[in-house]
């Protein structure tokens, strides 16, 4: 098997053939520094411009942007994105190779392998676990399982490198990459593989990622978030060929696509997004199959969730800038004209908005709190409080309210897509996803921008 060489900085193919395996990208330090300087400059200009505006103006502008983006999704949905577009039953069932990269995942890998072995598939199916230098003894135990192949890498080189090793060793026309903490439903392949037969340009099919039953409030919120993101949004975006990520937990790929475009970028924080953007650039299609359900483990604490999202968002920023030439490029259709600008813009605006909200509240809070601290004795002796009317709402909040109503509609739609009925246990997580989660996302984006543009290295 021969694989094309691609430039890890730009994602461009140079036509040469990588002599063995995939190109091992190296971080180009001057380019990264230039990126940091450019990013800082953009952020500084944005902050300076917004300094000239009142908080109300920023709030209204951000809300109108959000309303427009949400309206686009609603219109696309109403225009037929909700329709079931699953192709008719496949005439031939191609050979599928599942690859499970594993690093010290002894607590989940066996369940994952069992779920993969239980998959119903009429065609040929093989399963390969690529152990990425585990030290927890899981590799040795995996050898005892029948019906799977185990590739042992002596040195830990990361998930992307492990998947590349698995792809190179695979024999199937279709390659499925499965996280070691992900458990596909037994009929997952039956639905998803059909898409490859229907169109030769389909390079990947993403599955409907759900969470395993939640044990904490943070997980319960993510359960709904996954229904919204991988349900409503993915289904809508897929209808206009606009998917910009092939989610890490599980996605299927046509091996020919890897042969043409190269493997996963091993130095990328979000290699699943990078490969999707590379596919979009080179005209490969990505489809979403909502009848193929997989369950994945998600962070249980806020700190773990923050770390995960920080990596996602930093990787997102890095990849968006890497593929910046696709932005507003009519050659890439809806993907270049809508999906990419909106995705980057949403993150950037939410970060800026959160920054301004924090500054505004710090300023207002300081205004109300300062007398208490600086002249505590005067006020305390008087037994009075500083006047503040919490019920006097800014009339600009109407715009935020409209955004919230639309966001709530997406939450409702996501229940329908995932065939869930709202029950009492959903009440609190629902409030969390509607009111708190957007703030968390904005804050994490802000942190991601600060980390990325300061050039801080990511620590796994």
């Amino acid at each position: 098997m021969e694989l094309k060489h691609y430039d890890s900085q730009t994602g461009l193919l140079d036509g040469s053939i990588a002599p063995s395996g995939f190109e091992r990208s190296k971080i180009n330090i001057p380019a990264r520094r230039n990126l940091a300087i450019a990013g800082m400059a953009v952020l500084a200009v944005a902050v300076m411009v917004s300094l000239l505006l009142s908080y109300q103006t920023i709030f209204i502008t951000y809300s109108i942007f959000t309303i427009f983006v949400f309206m686009c999704y609603i219109v696309l949905w109403m225009d037929g994105a909700w329709e079931d577009r699953e192709p008719a039953s496949a005439k031939e069932w191609p050979h599928v190779s599942l690859i499970i990269p594993s690093y010290n995942s002894g607590h989940t890998i066996f369940k994952c392998v069992e779920a993969c072995k239980a998959l119903k598939y009429p065609g040929k199916l093989d399963i390969t676990v690529v152990d990425d230098g585990s030290t927890d003894g899981s590799c040795e135990k995996l050898h005892a399982i029948e019906g799977i192949r185990v590739i042992r890498k002596e040195k830990n080189e990361g998930k992307a490198a492990a998947m590349n090793a698995g792809i190179l060793a695979s024999k199937g026309e279709i390659v499925g990459c499965v996280d070691s903490d992900t458990y596909p439903k037994e009929d997952a392949l039956l639905h998803a593989v059909k898409y490859f037969g229907a169109d030769r340009k389909v390079g990947s099919v993403v599955l409907f990622i759900n969470t395993t039953p939640p044990r904490t409030f943070i997980q319960a919120v993510q359960e709904m978030e996954y229904w919204i993101s991988f349900g409503f949004f993915f289904k809508t975006i897929a209808a206009i060929d606009g998917l910009y990520v092939t989610p890490g937990p599980m996605a299927l790929y046509r091996k020919k696509m890897f042969e043409e475009l190269g493997g996963f970028d091993e130095k990328n924080l979000t290699e699943d997004m990078e490969i999707a953007l590379r596919m979009q650039r080179h005209g490969w299609k990505i489809k979403a199959c909502h009848t193929s359900v997989v369950f994945t483990e998600v962070p249980a604490t806020l700190k773990a969730l923050y770390r995960q999202r920080l990596r996602w968002f930093r990787g997102g920023i890095m990849n968006m800038l890497k593929y910046i030439d696709m932005f507003f490029n009519p050659k890439h259709g809806n993907f270049g004209l809508f999906i990419l600008p909106v995705t980057l813009g949403s993150g950037f605006f939410s970060a800026l908005f959160i920054l301004w909200t924090i500054l505004n509240y710090v300023r207002a809070g300081a205004g109300y709190a300062a007398p208490w601290f600086s002249h505590f004795s005067v006020l305390a002796a008087s037994g009075i409080s500083v006047p503040f009317d919490p019920f006097l709402l800014d009339s600009a909040l109407i715009f935020g309210f409209i955004s919230l109503v639309m966001w709530s509609y997406f939450v409702y739609m996501s229940f329908t897509i995932s065939s869930q009925k709202p029950v009492l246990r959903h009440a609190l997580p629902m409030l969390g996803i509607i009111y708190l989660f957007p703030l968390f996302i904005g804050f994490t984006y802000l942190s991601a921008y600060a980390h990325e543009f300061s050039g801080k290295r990511y620590r796994w």
Binding site: M71, V75, P371, S374, A381, S382, P387, S395, I398
Partner: protein, 219 residues
Amino acid sequence: MNPFLKAALLTALVVVLAFFTVSQIDNARANDVKKNVDSVLAQKQAEDVLAQYSRVLAKSPQEQCPYLFSLRQKQLDRTYSLALRMQDYERSNVLNSEYEQLKTSYLLGLASMYISGFDNRKTCGADEIPLAFFYEENSQCQDCLAQNAVLSNVAKRCKNVRIYAFPADNPLEPVKILADRYNIGAVPAIVVNDGTAQSGLQGEQAVIGMLSASGAVCQ
């Protein structure tokens, strides 16, 4: 129709409706303030009529006094709370542009009432003690907020004290002349009964002490 164009048109419709709702809220609040400012101005006009009556028709200069007491008592608290409400509404306002005009009218009426209060005392011997509170509206004056809180409490405890709040940084001449008269340099500053300005945050007991010395009856 292109779905993105359709979404843009629908967004435009929603935004227009949102701005309409915002304007309704802003106008309702501005009208509330306007009604109260009009009430203050009407009181001022009523005082002017009583003064005119006193000059032209009254058999004695004191004939107007019972009517004047009744008139001023009705508005004792309203003027001070109105200043604060106007400030809050203006801050939460998006589209209404009437606030500058309303503020001007209000401050003119307030300055006029402050000055005529002294005239009434000479004529009628009223026991109302005026307290002028100077603050800044265009700066982050934390002490002004604290002083405001102190004075709100003082107003509740001293029944015959009337508080007039003037923004020292307002360019309106009647406000400037009062600030100059009391040599207001730093805010917050309070002036009790046309005396000397006390700059800096004053505690409740200190303010009540000053008022009591001027004849105020405080609990």
